[in-house]
Point group: C2
């Protein structure tokens, strides 16, 4: 899922996302949109789909991750979390119930429960305490979701926490399964832990989660990791890597990543990836993209973002094809170095 | 003509320029492209059309204006102008002949002669001296154009200088007419002089220039001024106003300009201009554009640029329709405050 933090995927129009990238679902960030322009403004506009003119699905996070990474002076209690906005220092309070109310005001299709995010590494005792708080918050979120809302079509996903402790992950997953959620996310990944540990945690959660429900690995991953997560039972992923790296000059190709500012590309009159069918690769050369990057032209970010997102979604498409063809193991063996 | 200084109109893909804006011709800046990525790189890429993937016409300026406004340590002689790059301080020399050679390497459809640009105000004596130097440079440019190039299809426009002195403008125009140029530009406008004086200078030049050749007023103007220039005999104009103002938060409408950051637009769930048919106005509200502007999102600049360029080109379309219908005087009376 491409990330559209502030009701826009940086550098692209919604039409480009739909027609060029064929994205089926976007992620938007509750924390950012709640603080600016505000949930009331977006509700007034007819919801996020209407506001940002995106006709397909939107998944919103709960705001928890940003409260624990961006906001200032956090005070966590059983009730929720008090914090100051990173924009203007204003005081706010987020509770499990309020996170649902805000996401409903945004008109999200898939909402996420509020959870506490622990840093890496963290000792087992505080990790257990935090996971259990997140689990109690998840129960309250589902309480609000089942009783409070006028939109019967929206979905709420639970989030498995438990840091890098297999037993905590399993305990959390089992507890959340009792909620009968429409989908389950695995949170607290990609916070600095070794990649093999991330895979282990996904495997531990997967064993407990119902196979008939979508599983969502939050905040992953590199192109070559996508197939690994899918092989572990993951159906959905989101990450700022394709879009943020694009803007910073890092382009993914099937033969690995390239840094567009390198002098080697100055007179390289070939596409970023000869085999890529995206608008950028069908029309423009590395030399042109490098020129735009060095000249700090916005079009660079637009074309680079198009390319990286296309590569990510094309990778997922090829993974789906491999699953249907029964050739996923071959795919995983072949897709080794891509983007690493 | 939208301005694409560094081989891109800031914020738009060439496809958007073609399909959404229906621009027929773009302007690109020789000075910028010569210094970065270099004429050799662009020639190698197959020329500017291929490099930036723009299938329609390109007009390039000579680089003179930027040498006199951006470059450092200029030294003007009869031969040409020596200067240091504003990018890295490197030393360069531009002559009338070299300006043609560079523009030919770029593959320009309409090239401009090298001229010296005087500031405003300037006394009559230095204005006369500068105009005569520009006229001699124009003669040398045409000499190079007629003998030097392998591309018989490219065109070279002469540029009338003479600051705000009617007699100098007339003398310059008469001298350039002897060159039998495919088109004539009026330079040295919009450099700080009162607008009525700009109109007077255009009128003075127009009286001398052949009616069967296109006339191009360089670097103008505001939306409400376009019709005035056309009524004075002008066929072509370029200006960074629609694109630069867009990025700075100033949007032109048929009812005057709006500053998108104003709080009045925070909950304004209507398009920038209800009567506008551009992609931005057909799909997005002032409230959304204001949100993107305050959040410093690139999509703001893309949508704002689309809108302002659409309004400019739509104004020109309506002017052409009024000319054909014989109603240009009515059009000029009605289009008073637009954008002022």
């Amino acid at each position: 899922m491409p990330v559209g933090t502030q009701a826009t995927v940086k550098g692209l129009t919604p039409r480009q996302l739909e027609k060029e990238i064929n994205a089926r679902i976007l992620l938007a960030n509750t924390y950012h949109l709640w603080l600016r322009p505000g949930a009331a403004t977006i509700r007034e506009a007819g919801g996020l789909h209407s506001f940002m003119r995106w006709p397909r699905a939107i998944l919103t996070d709960s705001g928890g991750y940003q409260v624990f990474s961006l906001a200032h002076l956090r005070k966590v209690s059983e009730d929720g979390v008090e914090f100051r906005s990173h924009l203007d220092g204003s005081l706010h309070f987020l509770s499990p119930e309020k996170a649902i109310d805000i996401q409903r005001a945004l008109g999200s299709d898939i909402m996420m429960v509020l959870d506490e995010c622990t840093p890496y590494p963290v000792d087992a005792a505080p990790a257990r305490e935090s996971m259990r708080l997140s689990a109690r918050w998840a129960e309250r979120s589902f309480g609000r979701w089942r009783t409070g809302g006028p939109e019967p079509a929206d979905m709420l996903f639970a989030i498995v926490q438990g840091s890098t402790y297999t037993d905590l992950r399993r305990e959390c997953a089992r507890r959340l399964v009792d909620l009968g959620a429409p989908g389950y996310a695995i949170g607290g990944l990609s916070v600095g832990e070794p990649r093999e540990l991330s895979y282990d945690m996904v495997a531990a959660c997967e064993a407990e989660l119902p196979r008939c429900r979508p599983r969502y690995a939050m905040g992953v991953g590199m192109p070559a990791e996508l197939g690994r997560y899918v092989a572990l039972g993951i159906d959905m992923m989101d990450c700022v890597l394709p879009t943020r790296n694009a803007r910073n000059g890092c382009l993914f190709t099937r033969a690995g990543k390239i840094m567009i500012k390198n002098a080697a590309h100055a007179r390289s009159h070939v596409p970023v990836d000869e085999r890529c069918q995206c608008y950028a690769c069908r029309n423009f050369t590395r030399a042109y993209l490098r020129h735009l990057f060095l000249a700090r032209e916005m079009l660079y970010s637009t074309l680079a973002t198009m390319h990286n997102l296309w590569l990510y979604l094309d990778t997922m498409r090829r993974i789906r094809e491999a699953i249907i063809a029964g050739t996923l193991p071959d795919f995983l063996r072949q897709s080794g170095p891509s983007g690493d």
